[in-house]
C-alpha cells in the first residue's frame, strides 16, 4: 500500500517535471496554421511551383523586399540601378551571405539561378523572361542584360516565385528539391515537410541579412516554427481557441467576431490581396454567347454577398484586380456591377424565354448549367448564394463540390461552366495568368482565348518601356477582358490573421504588403 502510494507519487512528480520542461521548451517555438487558400502546396520549389505557402518566404530570401506602400527596398541586393533605356539592370549584392548547405551566395549563384528559369520546365519562366543574360561584373555585382525593358522586374524579384535557390543542390536533387530537401539563404531551414499536413522550420543561426523592411536583420527571434495545414477555418479556429496553435494565417470574415470575443485572442488585419470571382467558361454553351455571359455576370449581387456572407468586412469587387492597383481603374462602363434588368433583357434577347418554375427555356431546353466549387465551407456558402442569385434571373445552376486540393486538376479537363474561386496576387499580370490563351483549363479556368486580348496581352506583358506605359497597357488589356465577360468579380476581402496574445508578441508595425518574412523576423514568443 505505502509502496504503491510512493511509487505513484514519484511517477506524478516525474510527469510534472516533464510538463515543466516541456513548457520552457515550448516557449521557444510557435505553431502557425497555413491559410486555407495555400493548403496542399506540393513543393517548396519556387521555380516549378504554381502555388507556394507562407513558409516559403522563410526558407528563401529574395533580391528585393517590398514595403507596405508597395515601394522596393534592399534585401539580398544592396542597391540597384536601371539603365536609362531600360535595357540593363546592375545589382550590387550583399556580401557574407551563405546558403543552408554552406554554399556561398554571390554573383555566380545569381547567374546560375536566373538561368534555371530558362532550363526548368514550369509556368514561372515568364518572371525572368525579359532577362536575356546575366553578366558577372565582380563577385558581388551582377548585370542583367535585358531583351526588352521590363518595368515589372523589381516586383518579380520581390515575389516568392523568384526566391533565390541554391543552384547546385537544385540541379542535384531534381524533383526532390523542395520536397525532401531544400536549401535557401532564408532565416529558417527546413526540418521536415509532409505535403498537406505540416512543415517544421528551425532557425538559421548564421542569418544576419534580413530584408531592409524588417527591424531585426537576424537571426530570427523564435527558434522553431511549425506550419500546420488545416483546410477548414472553423477547425483551425477551434485549435487556436483551445491553445493547440498560436497563429492563423487566414481568418474568414464570419469568424472574426468569434475571435474578438475571446480575451486572449486578437485579430490583425492588413490591406487585402485577394479577389473572389466567378469564372465563366467561354467555350461551353450557353456561355459561348457573350450575352448569356454578361447576363450571368450581372446577375451577381456583390453588395448583398458582402453584407450577408462576409458580414460587411472587405469590399465589393467590380474588376478582376484588387482596387489598390492602378490597373484596376478602368472605364466605368467596363466595370461589372449587379444589373438584374440588363441581365433579364440580355437573356430575352438571346432567345432564353422565362419558363415554368422560374427557369428560362430555349428550343425546349432549360437554361441549366453547372457551378463548381471547392469543399471549404466559406466557398460552399458563397456558391449557394451565387446559385440563388443566378436563379433570380432564370439560370438554374447545379452545384458540384470538389475537394479543394483536387479542383485544379478538375479545371484542366475544361468541363466546367461556372465556378466560384479566389486568387491572391497584387500585380496586374494576374490578368495574363488567368486569361492567357496558352494556359487553358488551369490557370485559365475560363478557357478564354481571344485574338484581340492576346494582342493587348503581349503589349502589356512585353511592350512597355517604363512603369507608366506598363500601367496604361495593362489597364487596356484588363478593360478589354472585362468587356468580354469571361468572369464575374465578386468580393475583395481584407487579409485577416488571428493570434494568441498570451503566446505571441507582434511587431507594432509590419512594413510589408502581407504577413511574410519581415513580420516573422520581428515576431517574438512571450516567455
Amino acid at each position: 500500500m505505502t509502496l504503491s502510494f510512493r511509487k505513484s507519487f514519484l511517477a506524478a512528480s516525474v510527469s510534472l517535471a516533464a510538463l515543466f520542461s516541456a513548457q520552457t521548451l515550448a516557449a521557444q517555438e510557435a505553431v502557425f496554421v497555413i491559410g486555407t487558400a495555400e493548403v496542399g502546396a506540393p513543393t517548396y520549389n519556387p521555380i516549378k511551383a504554381t502555388m507556394l505557402n507562407t513558409a516559403t518566404a522563410l526558407i528563401f530570401d529574395r533580391m528585393v523586399s517590398q514595403a507596405a506602400d508597395l515601394s522596393y527596398h534592399p534585401w539580398l541586393a544592396e542597391s540597384w540601378e536601371e539603365a536609362a533605356d531600360g535595357m540593363s539592370w546592375t545589382f550590387k549584392l550583399k556580401e557574407g551571405v551563405t546558403f543552408h548547405n554552406g554554399e556561398p551566395f554571390n554573383a555566380d549563384t545569381v547567374k546560375a539561378w536566373i538561368e534555371l528559369f530558362k532550363t526548368t520546365e514550369g509556368e514561372n519562366a515568364y518572371m525572368a523572361e525579359a532577362i536575356a543574360s546575366v553578366e558577372v561584373v565582380d563577385a558581388s555585382t551582377v548585370k542583367f542584360v535585358m531583351s526588352r525593358p521590363e518595368p515589372n522586374l523589381l516586383y518579380n524579384l520581390s515575389s516568392t516565385f523568384m526566391s533565390v535557390v541554391e543552384p547546385k543542390s537544385f540541379a542535384a536533387l531534381g524533383d526532390n528539391y523542395g520536397v525532401t530537401e531544400v536549401y535557401g539563404t532564408g532565416p529558417y531551414k527546413l526540418e521536415s515537410f509532409a505535403v498537406g499536413q505540416e512543415t517544421v522550420l528551425v532557425r538559421n543561426e548564421d542569418y544576419k541579412w534580413g530584408p531592409a523592411v524588417a527591424a531585426n536583420a537576424g537571426p530570427a527571434k523564435v527558434e522553431r516554427l511549425t506550419f500546420r495545414e488545416i483546410p477548414e477555418d472553423s477547425t483551425a479556429f477551434l485549435e487556436l481557441k483551445t491553445g493547440g496553435v498560436d497563429f492563423l494565417l487566414s481568418v474568414p470574415a464570419d469568424l472574426m467576431g468569434e475571435v474578438q470575443k475571446e480575451a486572449n485572442l486578437a485579430v490583425l488585419t492588413m490591406a487585402g490581396q485577394d479577389v473572389w470571382y466567378m469564372p465563366i467558361n467561354v467555350t461551353k454553351a450557353p456561355f459561348d454567347d457573350i450575352r448569356v455571359r454578361e447576363a450571368a455576370a450581372k446577375a451577381i449581387n456583390q453588395e448583398e454577398i458582402l453584407a450577408s456572407v462576409f458580414g460587411g468586412v472587405g469590399a465589393v469587387a467590380d474588376t478582376f484586380l484588387i482596387s489598390a492597383l492602378p490597373e484596376s481603374k478602368v472605364a466605368d462602363s467596363a466595370k461589372i456591377k449587379f444589373d438584374p434588368a440588363r441581365a433579364n433583357a440580355l437573356l430575352d434577347e438571346a432567345g432564353w424565354a422565362m419558363g415554368d418554375g422560374g427557369v428560362r427555356m430555349k428550343d425546349g431546353q432549360p437554361l441549366k448549367v453547372t457551378l463548381w466549387t471547392q469543399s471549404d465551407s466559406i466557398f460552399r456558402r458563397l456558391t449557394e448564394v451565387v446559385q440563388a442569385q443566378l436563379k433570380a434571373v432564370g439560370i438554374e445552376a447545379e452545384i458540384t463540390t470538389f475537394d479543394s486540393s483536387m479542383i485544379r486538376d478538375q479545371y484542366k479537363t475544361g468541363e466546367q461552366q461556372l465556378a466560384v474561386r479566389s486568387y491572391n496576387w497584387d500585380n496586374a499580370d494576374i490578368v495574363d495568368w488567368f486569361f492567357g490563351g496558352d494556359r487553358l483549363g488551369y490557370p485559365n479556368v475560363s478557357m478564354y482565348n481571344d485574338p484581340k486580348a492576346e494582342e493587348l496581352r503581349t503589349a502589356a506583358m512585353t511592350g512597355a518601356k517604363n512603369m507608366d506605359e506598363r500601367v496604361a497597357n495593362f489597364t487596356a488589356y484588363h478593360e478589354y477582358v472585362l468587356t468580354q465577360f469571361p468572369m464575374a468579380p465578386i468580393y475583395q476581402p481584407v487579409q485577416a490573421f488571428a493570434y494568441n496574445t498570451d503566446r505571441l508578441s507582434l511587431p507594432a508595425t509590419i512594413n510589408a504588403p502581407s504577413f511574410g518574412t519581415a513580420a516573422f523576423m520581428d515576431l517574438e514568443v512571450k516567455e
Binding site: 469568424l255 453584407a307 465551407s377 460552399r380 449557394e384 448564394v385 440563388a388
Partner: protein, 279 residues
C-alpha cells in the same frame, strides 16, 4: 403481416414506431406541412434563433430550418430506403441462386461477397461515389452495393438450411421445378429475417447517407439532406449552433427509433435465434 402492428403495442416499439410514422408522414406531405420554401434565400433573415415564425430558427441563408429538416427527411429516408430495397432485392436473388444452384455460381458469389464484406461500408460507398460522381443517384447506388454482401449472405444461409428440409424434398418428389421451389417455398420462408435485417440496415444507411452528405457527396444544394445540413452547420457551430444540432438530433433519434422498432419486431417474430445463427 400482423407482426409489424403487434410490435407497436410493445412500449419501446410503440414510441419508436410513432416517431417513425411521424417522420415518414412529414416527409411524404412536406409541401403541405411547411409554410416556407426550402430553397428561397432570405439573406437579411439569416442566423435567427428559434422563434414563433421559425420554430427551429433559420440557417445561414435565412431559410426556415424546420422546413429544411422536413425536406431533409424526404432526401434521407428516400435515399436510404431505396438503396436498401435495391440491396435486398439483388441480395436475395444472388443469395438464393448461389445457395440453390451451388457449384461454381456459389463459389463466385460467395467470393465476391466476402471480398466486399471485408471492407467497411463507408469505404466502399466512398469509392463508388468517387467513381459515379456526387448526387443522390450516386449515393443510392453506393449504399446499395455497400450493403449487398449482408443480404446475400443472409439469404444464402437461410436457403442452405431450408434446402435440406423434408418439405422441399416432398415438393421436389412431386415434380416441382427450380423456380417453383425457390419462389413458392424457399424465399417466403427466408423473407422475415431478411426484412428485419433490412429494417435495421436502413438505420445504418441513414447514417451512411448523412456521412456522405457531410462530405458534400450527397444531395447537392439547395436540396437539403440531414448530412449536408450538418456539414453547413459545422462551420457555424459557434455562431448558430442550432443549424447543426437539429439535423444531428433528427439523425440520432430516427436511427435509434429504427433500432428499437426493429428489436420489437424481432421479438414479435421470434426470429432472434435464427438471425443470430445465420448472420
Amino acid at each position: 403481416m400482423i407482426a409489424p402492428l403487434r410490435a407497436l403495442t410493445r412500449p419501446q416499439g410503440g414510441i419508436a414506431g410513432l416517431w417513425l410514422i411521424l417522420v415518414i408522414v412529414a416527409a411524404v406531405f412536406a409541401p403541405l406541412l411547411t409554410p416556407y420554401a426550402y430553397d428561397i434565400q432570405n439573406l437579411p433573415n439569416a442566423y435567427q434563433p428559434a422563434s414563433g415564425a421559425h420554430w427551429l430558427g433559420t440557417d445561414e441563408f435565412g431559410r426556415d430550418l424546420l422546413t429544411r429538416l422536413i425536406y431533409g427527411a424526404r432526401t434521407s429516408l428516400s435515399v436510404s430506403a431505396t438503396a436498401i430495397s435495391i440491396s435486398v432485392l439483388c441480395g436475395m436473388v444472388l443469395g438464393a441462386a448461389a445457395a440453390w444452384f451451388g457449384g461454381w455460381l456459389d463459389r463466385i458469389v460467395t467470393m465476391t461477397v466476402d471480398l466486399t464484406w471485408s471492407f467497411p461500408e463507408i469505404l466502399i460507398a466512398l469509392i463508388l461515389v468517387a467513381i459515379i460522381g456526387p448526387g443522390t443517384t450516386g449515393v443510392m447506388i453506393a449504399i446499395a452495393v455497400a450493403y449487398l454482401a449482408q443480404f446475400t449472405r443472409l439469404t444464402r444461409a437461410q436457403i442452405m438450411t431450408l434446402k435440406g428440409e423434408t418439405f422441399i424434398e416432398a415438393a421436389r418428389s412431386l415434380g416441382a421445378g427450380n423456380a417453383h421451389i425457390l419462389f413458392r417455398h424457399l424465399l417466403p420462408n427466408a423473407l422475415a429475417p431478411v426484412l428485419v435485417s433490412a429494417m435495421l440496415a436502413t438505420g445504418d444507411a441513414i447514417i451512411l447517407e448523412a456521412t456522405l452528405g457531410f462530405f458534400g457527396l450527397g444531395a447537392q444544394p439547395p436540396v437539403p439532406s440531414w448530412g449536408g445540413m450538418m456539414s453547413a452547420g459545422s462551420a457555424l457551430i459557434f455562431k448558430a449552433p442550432w443549424v447543426i444540432v437539429f439535423p444531428g438530433l433528427a439523425v440520432a433519434i430516427t436511427v435509434v427509433a429504427i433500432n428499437l422498432y426493429g428489436d420489437a419486431l424481432i421479438a414479435e417474430l421470434d426470429i432472434r435465434a435464427r438471425l443470430r445463427r445465420d448472420a
